[in-house]
Assembly symmetry: C2
Homo-oligomer: 261 residues x 2
Amino acid sequence: MRAIAVINQKGGVGKTTTTVNLGAALLRLGFRVLLIDLDPQANMTIHLNVDPSGVDKSVYDVLCGKSAVADVMLECAGLSVVPSHIDLAGAEVELVSMVGRETILRDKLATLFADREKAGEAPFDFVLIDCPPSLGLLSLNALTFAGEVIIPMQTEYFALQGMTKLMDVVELVRSRLNPDLHISAIVPCRYDPRTNLAKEVLDEILRYFGDKVTKTRIRSNVRLAEAPSHGETVLDYDPESKGAADYLCLATELTGVAMPT
Amino acid sequence: MRAIAVINQKGGVGKTTTTVNLGAALLRLGFRVLLIDLDPQANMTIHLNVDPSGVDKSVYDVLCGKSAVADVMLECAGLSVVPSHIDLAGAEVELVSMVGRETILRDKLATLFADREKAGEAPFDFVLIDCPPSLGLLSLNALTFAGEVIIPMQTEYFALQGMTKLMDVVELVRSRLNPDLHISAIVPCRYDPRTNLAKEVLDEILRYFGDKVTKTRIRSNVRLAEAPSHGETVLDYDPESKGAADYLCLATELTGVAMPT
Ligand SMILES: Nc1ncnc2c1ncn2[C@@H]1O[C@H](COP(=O)(O)OP(=O)(O)OP(=O)(O)O)[C@@H](O)[C@H]1O
Ligand SMILES: Nc1ncnc2c1ncn2[C@@H]1O[C@H](COP(=O)(O)OP(=O)(O)OP(=O)(O)O)[C@@H](O)[C@H]1O
Ligand SMILES: [Mg+2]
Ligand SMILES: [Mg+2]
C-alpha cells in the first residue's frame, strides 16, 4: 500500500485538484483508492459532490473525537472517501496539549486497515491525503502516517519559496516520528507551455529537484477548474480533456501501469 | 490619507500583484504612495527588486524590535517601501503575550506621519499593506491600522469560501480596535473572460457583495506574472499590457482621477 501526503503550504497550487484526479486516475488503472480530506475548507469533499454540512461525522470526529475511520468513510464514484468539515479548523487548538498529537491519524488508520483485513476486505492500494495550505498539526498528522510526499508546484515566480521550510518539516517528521517518509514526486501544476515564464520556472524547479520532478506536467486546463462545480472528477466530467489525459499520464508514471485498452 | 489593507486569507489570489501594481498606478495618477510588506514570504519586497536578505532592517524590526518605520523605509521607483523579511515568520510567537500586540503597526506609523509633518515633508496620500495568506497577528496589525479593506478575489470555484471568516475578523477589529474599518472594494483578479466558469463565479461574487465589487476586473495577463521576475511593476515592465491598463483603470475607479494625458 502506498500512502501519499499531497502537500504544499502555498495556497492554490493544485493539491486538491491533484488528490481528486490522481485518485480517480489510479482507480481507472484498476487500483483501490482511499482519499482523505484533511483541510477544514473541505474542498476535496465538495469536489466529490459531498456536502460537508450534510455529513453526520467527518475526519474531525476521527482526530478530535471518538469516531473510527470506518464510521465516517463514504463511497463516491468508486473511491473511498473520508470527508472533512469546517469544525476541523479547531483541531489545532483542541489538540495542542495532547500527547502524540501528530500520530492520531496514523493510529486510527492502522485500526481501519486491521479491521478490514480481519473482515476479509481487500486492502487499499493507495491512500492519498489532501493537506491544507499550512504546516501545522493537520499536515503533521498526514506526514506522520504517509510513506511518501507528493508536492504539487505551480510554474509561477515564487513557486520555490517556502520549499526549504517544507523540506525541513518533512525531515523533522522523518527523523522523529516516521523513518519511511520521503519525497517521491514534485508535480508541476497549472503549467502553461505557451509562456516563457512557465518554462523558466520549470527549469528552475528541475535544477532544484532533479529527477524527483515528474515527466508529466499537469497543464492548465479549464475542465479541471470546472469539474468541482459539477461535483465530479475530471475523468467523469470530461474524459477527453487535457486535464483527464494529464492525470492518467501521471498515474501511469507513478505506477508503471498503463491504461487498460 | 487612505490606508488600505489588501487582504484575503486564501493563497495566490493576487494580493501582492494588486498591492504593487495598484500602488504603481496611483503613483502614475500623481499620488504619494507608501507600500508596506507584511508577509514573511516578502514577495512584495522581491517584486520591487529589493533583496530581503540584503536589507539591514525590515518591518520585522519595527513590529518586534526597536526600529522606527523611518529607519527601514526605502525608495523604489518613486514608491516608498517598507520591506519584509523571513524573520517576520516568528512575529506571531514572539508577540503572543504582548499587551496591545495588534496595535504596534498603527502606533509606529503614527510616529512616522507625525515626524514627517514636523519635518515639513508631504504626507502620503495612500498607504497600501500587503497581507500574508492568513488571519493571524500580522493581518490583525494591518486591519487595526487601516481605514479600508480591499479584497482581491480569484474568479474560480471556492473563491467565496472563507469570506464569512474574513468578514467576521474585519467586524471584530472594527468593533474592538478600529471603528473606521470597512470593506471598500472586492477586486476580481486573474479574471479570464473567455471561460464560462469565470463569468459564473463573478456573478456569484456580485450576488454576494453587490456594488462593493469593482467595475474593473483585473484580467489574467502573463505580463503581471512576469513583472516580478524582472523586479519591476507592470507599468514599468510593459506599460502597453492589459495588466497595466487594468490596474490604471482600477486606480481611476478608486480615486475618480483619470490618467494625466
Ligand atoms: N491544471 C489546472 N488547470 C486549471 N485550473 C486548475 C488546475 N489545477 C487547479 N486549478 C484550479 O485552481 C484552483 C486552485 O486549485 P486547488 O484547489 O487544487 O489548489 P490547492 O492547492 O488545493 O488550494 P488550497 O491551498 O486552497 O487548498 C482551483 O479553482 C482549481 O480548480
Ligand atoms: N491578473 C493576473 N494575471 C496573471 N498572473 C497573475 C495575475 N495576478 C496574479 N498573478 C500571478 O499569480 C501568482 C499569485 O499572485 P500573488 O502573488 O499576487 O497572490 P497573493 O495573494 O499575494 O499570494 P500569497 O497568498 O502567496 O501572498 C503570482 O505568480 C502572480 O504573478
Ligand atoms: Mg486544497
Ligand atoms: Mg502575496
